[in-house]
């Protein structure tokens, strides 16, 4: 061996000496991701805005009953309100042109009554926006949740079991993927929203909010399921999964304990963006008359109501649109922050 001394060996055999450049992160990756998210000021402001919007819409009944004393779902063509000591009709007669017909009252800018004016049926637009927000946010969040849950399960099954399971799931996804989102949603909606869905034991009524929720959730499933499948596919090649398989652990155990923790960050990244996407889709369907059905209201249907009043009472259409924009901007900024914190390499489209 000559002049080179042998140094005492440690038990491990290293052919290449590796270094952890910053071995400071001893805490769990979740904790550090959350911490990074918490440091992202834009994302935190967005989260605050979102929580504020949710809180405000949850308070809709309080506003309608205790402040405005109006029923935003009943027409009120003969209604009168008191502003600054004067009584005014909710649907005053036209003064311009031939003076025929009535035009809903414009914004009073009095918080307690018809803040944003009335719609064609004399209903309080501001109260309706609060109620509509509940529906819009409910559809956005629940369809986002359902979509991601279904997509994650499908993607994990396809990626983990491969072979026939993968083939069937992948072909299903391919078909839905190739189908233009709006056309699929339109086809499903036009058949379902007027007659409901009848699956033997389960019957979903025509006006039920479940229909738009399920339709929106299902059309976006491939958007999430495909990347999840890809992640699981590459995970399966990794040593720790192979070791778990070799050790005889059950599939269920491996999926739950080994695969899911590694898929979860990517799935979380999708959530805010899917919610924003779903809110936009819901309003688009509502505009077309195949989303939320009366007497329910959403921001989309209120914009639709405002279309006829666009030049005379623009606030009916402007206000719900602004609400959608605020919520979606907040969701997208939050989504960017979540991506940076949890899965910076994730490739996402901005929206549809």
């Amino acid at each position: 061996m000559g002049e080179i001394g042998e140094l005492p060996a440690t038990e491990s055999v290293a052919t290449k000496i590796t270094v952890k450049l910053a071995a400071v992160d001893s805490e769990s990756p979740w904790r550090s991701s959350l911490q990074q998210l918490r440091r992202n000021r834009a994302a935190m402001v967005s989260l605050g805005v979102l929580l504020f919007m949710v809180a405000v819409t949850l308070l809709a009944p309080v506003y309608a009953h205790d402040i405005a004393h109006s029923n935003p779902f009943a027409s009120n063509l003969q209604g009168r309100i008191k502003i600054g000591g004067h009584y005014r009709s909710v649907m005053p007669a036209n003064t311009q042109g031939l003076g025929l017909g009535v035009t809903p009252i414009g914004p009073t800018w009095h918080f307690s009554t018809y803040f944003l004016g009335a719609d064609e049926l004399g209903r309080d637009v501001f109260a309706r926006i609060l109620y509509g927000g509940r529906v819009t946010l409910l559809i956005g969040f629940s369809s986002g949740l359902i979509c991601i849950a279904v997509a994650t399960v499908l993607g994990m099954l396809a990626g983990y079991f491969g072979r026939a399971t993968d083939w069937i799931i992948s072909r299903l996804l391919d078909i839905v993927w190739a189908f233009p989102i709006y056309l699929l949603a339109i086809s499903l909606s036009v058949i379902l929203v007027t007659s409901g869905l009848d699956l033997g034991i389960v019957h979903i009524g025509a006006g039920s909010l479940l229909l738009p929720i399920l339709i929106i959730a299902s059309v976006y499933v491939p958007y999430v399921a495909r990347p999840v499948r890809g992640i699981v596919f590459s995970l399966k090649e990794r040593d720790f999964i192979q070791a778990a398989i070799a050790s005889g652990a059950s599939d269920w155990h491996i999926l739950r304990k080994e695969i899911w923790p590694n898929v979860a960050p990517s799935v979380i990244v999708f959530f805010p963006l899917m919610v924003a996407l779903n809110i936009l889709t819901e309003s688009a369907l509502s505009i077309l008359g195949i989303g939320v059905q009366p007497p329910q209201a959403s921001w989309g249907t209120i914009i639709n109501d405002g279309l006829q009043l666009l030049y005379t009472r623009p606030w009916v259409a402007i206000a719900p649109g602004i609400c959608i924009v605020i919520v979606c901007v907040a969701l997208n900024i939050l989504g960017d922050g979540v991506r940076d914190a949890f899965d910076p390499r994730a490739k996402l489209r901005g929206s549809i």
């Binding site: 058949i191 869905l197 505009i287 914009i303 666009l310 901005g350 929206s351």
Partner: protein
Amino acid sequence: MLRFTIKRLASAVLVMFTISVLVFLIFFATPGVNPAARIAGRSASPQVLANVAKEFGLNRPLPIRYGLMMYHLFIKQDLSSYVNIGDRIIPQITAAAPITLSLIFGAVVIWLLVGVSAGVIAAKNKGKFIDPLVMFFGIAAISIPVYWLGQMVLLVTQGGLHRTIFAWAPNGGYVSLTQSPWQWALHLLFPWLTLASLYAGIYARVLRGELINNMNEDYIRTARAKGLSERRILYRHALRCSMISIVSLFGLDVGVLVGGAALLTEVVFGLPGVGFLTYQGLQNLDLPLIMGCVMYGAFFVVLASAVVDVLYAYIDPRIRVVA
């Protein structure tokens, strides 16, 4: 390359077939829905219902029903509306198609110009104030519902300001290119801008991300080591590689738009394109019309994405080998 093209087109035909089956199932086999009543429209007489049942073979087995639907749609092309009785659907679609194509063509030009340059500017100025600024506009653009934006554009150009600044803005509607190219462009200007804004936002965001990722790739370091200028590295190397994902997005988007996603813009601006036709079908619950629009739209999407994939293989040499 030829083999790839043939293979890709063959798979497109397969996808078209499955989509047609899916459409068929939605329209004719949804549980709890009577297809004859839905096709015939509201308050149809028993005579009409019987006609519908015969035309689409509603008492015959499923495969024959599927065949009949495809026969009326594509071979005899005699699918007719039961709402506006006797109106042939297919000629309406072919008449509306140029309007939709005009709308999409202009929007594509605008969104590519704006989206790509915004993405490049943002990526180039990463770390300076201009990057978050551009990206905020990008986020705003993808967060605005298109039809609402259209309404706001109408409100501004057709409302109070119509007598002054926007006196030149036309009152909506469509003028064909052959009739007057100038009026054609003028009538489409605001629809173009409205439709383009969303996609410009998406493309700016995607391109910025791709560029920043690509600028961290090893081959960019090689390019620097070769002594190339930063400008050349950005445009000839990073941008060229980033365009791969832009092209794949682009194909899907154009396909989906032509297939009917432009319908909200058409509805707001009163452009009588294919989307508007679908909208009319929805308003009247005219099922044959919707079925026709959906099927033709979906087929166009599939065809467009096949064409794009071929184009994609041309841009990205790696694809050709894999496929």
